[in-house]
């Protein structure tokens, strides 16, 4: 516990077990991006997985949209301290995308239109834990929130859920992505408050 701030009592007094430490609930949906929102034209979007041996599996938008979809109801947690409960998404499970992929790599790098990257261990993308989402709240994903499609990895801080995602590359050793080299934690577990690089 820190120093008591005289006269401060706080507003959100209910200790919500859904709220990770240091977070507050918002009903809004804040937008955080490092640069301009990429304008991705119809037909331009495609998704690829590149293995550690350089083998590339690629889905066009139409091929991707023909894959089985899942509805995801989840809470999301941003490192800037807001959490949003009960969000609804639709997307393709990473388990589905990895069905035909041969790999022994332990690490992935997500790549986005616009150049953004973020690193996630492969095991954090598999086993029903991650999706490439293209709908939010029953509507096509808004460009500011990563449309046409973004990664959705709700058990990690939301900067790992790369907007405008266009592919994953697989790696035998961990490299750091965009925010991870700009001061943020390599892994980013909200429940352990792994916010910054020195929160190891």
């Amino acid at each position: 516990m820190g120093i008591v701030t005289p006269g401060f009592f706080g507003k959100h007094r209910e200790a919500d077990p859904k709220l990770p430490p240091g977070q507050y609930e918002t009903k809004d949906f804040p937008v955080l991006s490092a640069g301009p929102t990429p304008n991705i034209h119809d037909g331009e979007w495609a998704f690829s997985i590149t293995t550690e041996t350089g083998e590339v599996t690629r889905w066009s938008w139409d091929e991707f949209r023909a894959l089985p979809v899942e509805d995801v109801h989840t809470d999301i947690h941003c490192v800037t301290r807001w959490s949003k409960f009960d969000t609804d998404w639709r997307g393709v499970s990473l388990d589905t995308l990895f069905e035909g992929i041969e790999t022994s790599a332990g690490y992935t790098m997500a790549h986005s239109f616009g150049g953004y990257t973020t690193n996630v261990p492969l095991e954090d993308l598999l086993g029903g834990k991650a999706w490439v989402a293209f709908e939010y709240d029953g509507e096509p994903l808004d460009p500011e929130h990563g449309g046409p499609a973004r990664l959705l990895v709700p058990h990690l801080y939301f900067w790992k859920s790369a907007k405008w995602v266009k592919g994953l590359s697989l790696h035998d050793s961990e490299e750091l992505g965009f925010w991870e080299v700009n001061g943020y934690h390599a892994y980013g577990d909200p429940w352990k408050e792994e916010r910054y690089y020195y929160d190891s």
Binding site: P6, P30, E144
Partner: protein, 237 residues
Amino acid sequence: MEWAVADVVGIREETPTARTLMLRIPGWKGALAGQHIDIRLTAPDGYQAARSYSLSSAAGDELAAVSVELMPDGEVSPYLVRGISVGDQLEVIGPLGGWFVWRPEQTEPVRLIGGGSGIAPLVSILRTHIRSGNTAPVKLLYSVRTPEYVYFSDELDALTAEAGAEVAIQYTRHAPPGWQGTIGRLDARRVTDWAEGDQNASTYICGPTRFVELASDALVAAGVDPATIRTERFGGA
């Protein structure tokens, strides 16, 4: 890096709804221009709330300065804008963030576009630019509701004169008496006209989401390389 106990050593009323707090932070070694700190408040029963605030102080300043705008439904800002006094203490951690930053060794022209309280990190960049003696051209486009909502109003002229900066203010609701410029919301044309002519510039845009989207979309549509535009947004969409 650990949470540190900072002393509030100065407070300046910035606008009717915002204040700048000057903080003395033990072990503070300065920051990069554009970085932020987190401020944490603790209630008597141990309940805590923390928020991020951009620094407006220059990179090497001994004191850290943040400007806090009152969010009517907020939890932390009402306390920082209405409740706190000089001599009080706050917990802080930082400096944080390595992307929305300007370094004195950068030599390209700098474009700063701020909306409302989004001016804070841009003032940090201006101050650092002056302090470092950097001679790269710098200019600022500042969108603000009315004259009374201009942050750093008493310093902005001197600051920009010293930086050799061009400043354009866009009043969105009403302007001071005798104002020759336009009044109204910033539009794409105004942004691109203002931005014209700086080859290879780096652009820093900070403000509410809609504002940042408009300004960055306008520049990209006008052919500016998106990789040269850094943004910091606040609020939802």
